[in-house]
Amino acid sequence: MPPTLLTIWNFLKPIVEILILWALFYQVLIFFQNTRAFQVLKGLIYLLVGFLIFELLGLTTLTLLLRHFFAISVLAFLIIFQQEIRHGLARLGQQHLFTTNLEESEINAMIEEITAAAHKLARRRIGCLIALEKETQLKTYIDSGVAIDGKVTSEIIQSIFVPTSPLHDGGIIIRNDRILAAACLFPLSENINLSKIIGTRHRAALGLTEQTDAIAVMVSEETGNISVAFEGRFIPIVSKERFSSILKDLLIGQKEK
């Protein structure tokens, strides 16, 4: 390497290292945000900062004490939160095995069916939970339900969620334009910031979208409100048109990326 380039590189090296460390720490914090593990992670960060301060000040007794305690806490963290860590690693190593291969017109037709079903169910105050699979396979959740493999139509969705139907509990999973299974069980959200009055259906929708890239559509049987959840967050719905456009953005918009 020429000397000038070497000088520039030596100058840039710390900046590059700090930027990479920043990105790593930020990803870890984002990864644990809104989970039970985040509070514990905060505790670990305080310990780490304390440890560094003691080390800089040369307080050897406290440094030694914290070093031992820190080593144990890291191990304890890995054991206690293995579930969260496992989910996160699964998301990191997510293989793009499935990508929707539907034409835009077919996606639009499916969205229309879901929109019609959601609004009819909302009008009758019938709760529903619909998960639209994207790239993360929802096989585990499909296996927990009853296989259907039928084309998405407003009528089928409505008949599944009628309270007298044996399949009305749990959610349905849609892949491409087919309902793969009904009465599927989804993981409940562990977001500690969620309001206590949020029901199990909404928690399940959030839980699924926290752990996968699926889109969840819910109708509340108490209020008749329709909501969409994606990446662990609710997207407020104000009108039928907005509902369709959000689903289109999430399905078609992401596909184009």
């Binding site: 920043w22 930020y26 080390e55």
Partner: protein, 33 residues
């Protein structure tokens, strides 16, 4: 850029501080070798 910075600002600042502290700490250790 501004929008990116202020989205999750607290987490970004915490992670930046951690990155700088860790980098300085590692450099201090490396100085002994």
């Amino acid at each position: 850029m501004k929008k990116w910075l202020f989205n999750n600002f607290a987490l970004k600042m915490i992670s930046l501080s951690l990155a700088v502290i860790t980098w300085i700490y590692i450099q201090e250790i490396l100085r002994y070798y």
